[in-house]
Symmetry: C2
Subunit: 351 residues, 2 copies
Amino acid sequence: MSGEIPAGKLQGERVRFGPDALSELYEQGYFGRPRGKALDLSLVEAAYLLDRSRIKVSQQGKELDFRAFFQASSALEKGFEFRYVVYKDLRERGYYVQPGRPDFRVYPRGGHPGKTPAEFYVLVISERMPLPLQSLVEPVRMAGQMRKRLMLAIVDEESDITFYEARDKTLSGKMGQEPSGGLATLLEDRVVLWDPEASVRLHEHGFYGKAIGEQLQLSLVESAYLLEKGLIEMADRSGEALDLEGLKEKAREIESDFDLKYRIYRDLREKRLVVKTGFKFGTHFRVYKQVGGPDRVPHSEYLVHTVSSDYVFMPPVLSRAVRLAHSVRKEMVFAYPEDGVRYLEIKRLRP
Amino acid sequence: MSGEIPAGKLQGERVRFGPDALSELYEQGYFGRPRGKALDLSLVEAAYLLDRSRIKVSQQGKELDFRAFFQASSALEKGFEFRYVVYKDLRERGYYVQPGRPDFRVYPRGGHPGKTPAEFYVLVISERMPLPLQSLVEPVRMAGQMRKRLMLAIVDEESDITFYEARDKTLSGKMGQEPSGGLATLLEDRVVLWDPEASVRLHEHGFYGKAIGEQLQLSLVESAYLLEKGLIEMADRSGEALDLEGLKEKAREIESDFDLKYRIYRDLREKRLVVKTGFKFGTHFRVYKQVGGPDRVPHSEYLVHTVSSDYVFMPPVLSRAVRLAHSVRKEMVFAYPEDGVRYLEIKRLRP
């Protein structure tokens, strides 16, 4: 049925075709963008079709083979190689993919341009490139507004791709009011609540601290929160009273990112969640929707790591965090300050 | 059977007891260090025994209760609170524990001082304190020389303890000689080997690169190694020949730690191991002892992360790396340059 192989011309970062390409390429596979009766292919689309001998490409009258076109495209377009690998992978999985913002639009299975809206926006990321938080926040917002999902395609140095989805997350729990706890002392870098009965109360309602003998050891964020709520009183080792500002000052000496950590801790507790250290998982917090008591501790639902709003991820670190969270059946959530606190969930996607 | 509760005096960082303590404390539990007919307890030992009402402690004629003694000890000895938590935990698991270098010596189950040699040296680490690689390398060496195992006890902010073992690791594989591969081109940040047959050969014998269509994409470390071995030739996008130094120079612009990574990669390949990216696991490499071919890829045995010899771990990052490696049934190994390359394995321990 098919006629001549369409022949296009490499012009800038596009390959331009005549009207024949419209029926051969666009109508039979949604390749390229129609421009009137003509068709423009992006460089990745053209490389993909050239590799399959479905098009010919020339530049200044000279035909380019796959190798020549690939080398030329790699020089013309930054990130071409990554995008090519991702485009090829998604196409070979049977999805219709179109160039778009941030990198591609992907249609749902069974859908295609003109029939269905795109399901995903795709952001292509190189394993080696630092990834600022804001470069995720912005596409997440854009995708949310357009009612799309945001797919991250991270390409490693061997051209393997790992897919993730990033989205805004709303967290909330079911815990009740905390009981009061009496006097606590700040020691070298943690806090001891001395009263055995108050220790049991706070540990049972709210899962605060860790029982060491009859005393309760509280972490710095726990102590600050209970102190801010007026549920404990505090002193230092010499017996001098400590107010919230005094405690925060000492806490900053011990943990340089105390303020950020506390801001997130406080927000999560205010959302009626139970928040404990996530040290064993390499994150700041593990979070429970509800804990009935120390003998009825359920599986924690979330791992929450706090980052500043100008934080820059290294993709291998991101990859490790998400993989680890999944291996213990938790959701990986990054918390950052913005209009209060916002939460960004990142999870593996298997397209 | 027991007589009066032994009464000791807090002097400096020791609590000193008379001869009665020798039979009450040392002979019935190997607490403290005998000094002639007297006995010295360290502060953690004394706090542990005071909490159980097995001793009395006074300072300048005044008796100290547990809270007063604990606060005093915390002020006297840096890291007292961490060591106390770890000591108490190990004792309550039924081990005999003695103060020693770096922090404690632990005897094997059924063993005790005077009967058996200690099995472990214990290094107590706070989750919050930066942990220089060298502060592990030195105790690992010391433990190795004394034929002990090195236990790391990392205490998190809620006083939960995670135990690890650190040890020197020798790695070796079973791979044969590599075949040659022809001409490869360095594109934006990766390398393409164009010849289809050579691509298949190198992918099948040595599991180099990733097949993209009929071409093989090679990573920078793979390319440098094959180039150094004389198994490929290289050119840049303009067709200009690249020698090893030329490739390394470009590679350093793409990956600032290229030299270190390549040094470790080279060492592992020279040890006849198959080395691929560990991106999905958040490490530099995943390592196989042997790969029969792309259709017979076994489970990789090791995750290897390269660090410089002055690298400083943050314990949560260490914790995450080890936990992730275990969750995928691999061993976590840190590689660092020293007399060539050395390998440090860190694994969870469940005492």
